[in-house]
Amino acid sequence: MGQMSGAQMICEALIAEGVTTVFGYPGGAIMHVYDEIYKQNGFEHILNRHEQAAVHAADGYARATGEVGVAMVTSGPGFTNAVTGIATAYTDSTPMVVISGQVPRSLIGTDGFQEIDAVGISRPCTKHNFLVHSLKELPRVLKEAFYIARSGRPGPVLVDIPKDITVDIGEFNYPDSVDIPTYKPTYKGNKRQIEKAVEAIKSAKKPLLYLGGGIVLSNASELVREFANKTQIPAVETLMARGVMGADNPLLLGMLGMHGNYASNMAMSETDLVISLGARFDDRVTGKLSEFAKYADIIHVDIDAANIGKLVDVDYPIVGDVTEVLKAMLPQLNGVDTARYKSWRDVLNHYNELHPQSYIDSDEVIKPQWAIERIGELVGKDAIITSDVGQHQMWAAQHYPFDRPRQWINSGGLGTMGFGFPAAIGAKRACPDKIVINITGDGSILMNMQELVTASEYKIPVINVILNNHFLGMVRQWQTFFYEKRYSETDLSFQPNFKALAQSCGGIGYDVSTKEEFDEALKDAIKQDRVCFMNVQTNRFEDVLPMVPSGGALFNMMLPETTKGDE
């Protein structure tokens, strides 16, 4: 390709990797790169109004498409602002490359202006990171960064580039392939282990598919559906796996865990064989570990060997990509006796009839669960739903009819408030033909509300449905249950005028307090080509139920009676 500057090399590498959108924010140490971005036409750059939002947007882009998301920030505070976004991507295994500027090499270690040890800070929250030492290694490092981000268990990779390297001129040869002798992810599962697991499935009486986000990352949903269909084994989904089975699938019991439904949690408590696919036994899923799947043998399929045996003892460990392992398993399950599990399915269906996912609706006030179900009815299978973190997130996970993987984008692992709006911007940019709705709360939305400006400037019409209960709702719920109703710092009665706030940034605002207004506003918002805030007044004291109190056994659920009207 000839002689060029480090900054040019970065742009050329991004183009070579097929990057079409970069989310970022310029600053001193990254200016040479931004100068080259100005001159090129290979990709577009979206100027988010905060580095955290830029990384979340890249994250949303990546989750909606499966491609590597790319964010670019400057050194020092630019980088530290990005850390929450990087950590969010890390805990949910999003493939991402973050490029950060660094002070010139001669200033590193001198407490220079806007200098911070980016590789030091990001070490625990990246899959890998690089401080580039010379122009010569820059192309190889960029190539490796993309490769590491998207291969194996995906994750964010940081490339920290000193400013003087972006100015230096050198020969650009972008490598065609990567060879890292120390990094060889395992995709194919061990043949013998797979055979043993299949035997276990055939001899189980009450098997259960425990589906995790790894299925989405591996694009294995079709294979999982085929597996379930072939064997007629019932399934539960984690928060990260919503959409894998499809809402109408009769074999899907629902979501399990702290806010899982009755049948799912009972299924996990009574099963004799857990078939875990791309899930990692998170504490929000397992509850009290000693009571978790107490009567079951466990098959654990995971591409990350460190997840296997980390929390529970596993009987059939299989390190590999879910797609590859299922491809190997499926032919061995030909002619499996599906009637064998019928009485087990009957028990679970009975549980679902006994305690379905439910709430008591109201004619006076909008219930948050109603709002979510209504969105499902109005936009349903087409929309991409993002969320922030809190009650609204759990209600969305419980009540939205998710139909396909990558339809549901939320910060499940780190639980980052402020994730939803910028992630929606990224998802909408990736999928402009889809309706993108961020289901959020009056607490979370304020944590990245500056993105109204971004969405307006670039005409990215995402709809923010703010389920407004004038509370930091999830914390309030815990205070009600476990802190004798001492509502310490959770009352958000003092609020901005959300409608005017949206308008002041070039968006559209709706104040909604009845079901009719809700329908009208949502239908109108879908037609608009501008970003929207729907400020939906809901009842203040609605709880997310069922609930397994933290550290309790999964089968000890607080079940919904209806709201208690604490006012």
Binding site: R123, H128, L131, P181, T182, Y183, A305, A306
Partner: protein, 159 residues
Amino acid sequence: MKNHIDERRVISVIVMNESSVLSRITSLFAARGYNIESLTVAPIPNSDMSHITIATKGSSRLMEQVTKQLHKLIPVYKVIEHEEMVEKEMVLAKFPIAENLADISVLSAAYNGGVVNVGEEMIIVMVADEPKRIKHFIEASQRYNPCEVVRGGVVAIER
């Protein structure tokens, strides 16, 4: 949970020679609260890899997790949890010249070592032996009033 007994363990980690590789490994231990008892690093001859030997304490379950986490680090090539190994540690000790030099010399010879330096005021000995015996040597040497003792950390090789 089974295997919860804390035992002394020695692991070898073969890594790429990169500037930040050691900090990746030590911060992995630090972040999870695993203790490092001793750590040595040196390049492997005729390669671009280094050999790190870490002595630590923990249950077999914990060690399995440590090993897997180490494996996950991109520049880590291999992790060996030693079972049947030859293990050695080196120590340097400095004594006042006025002490009984013959005794000191015999003592260090008994622990695979000898005198390596003699100055106007001090004598320095070096010994290399199993870590347990190194401990004994240090205890035994106390009567000669050592002014300084520097342990080298464990190196191990699988038999």
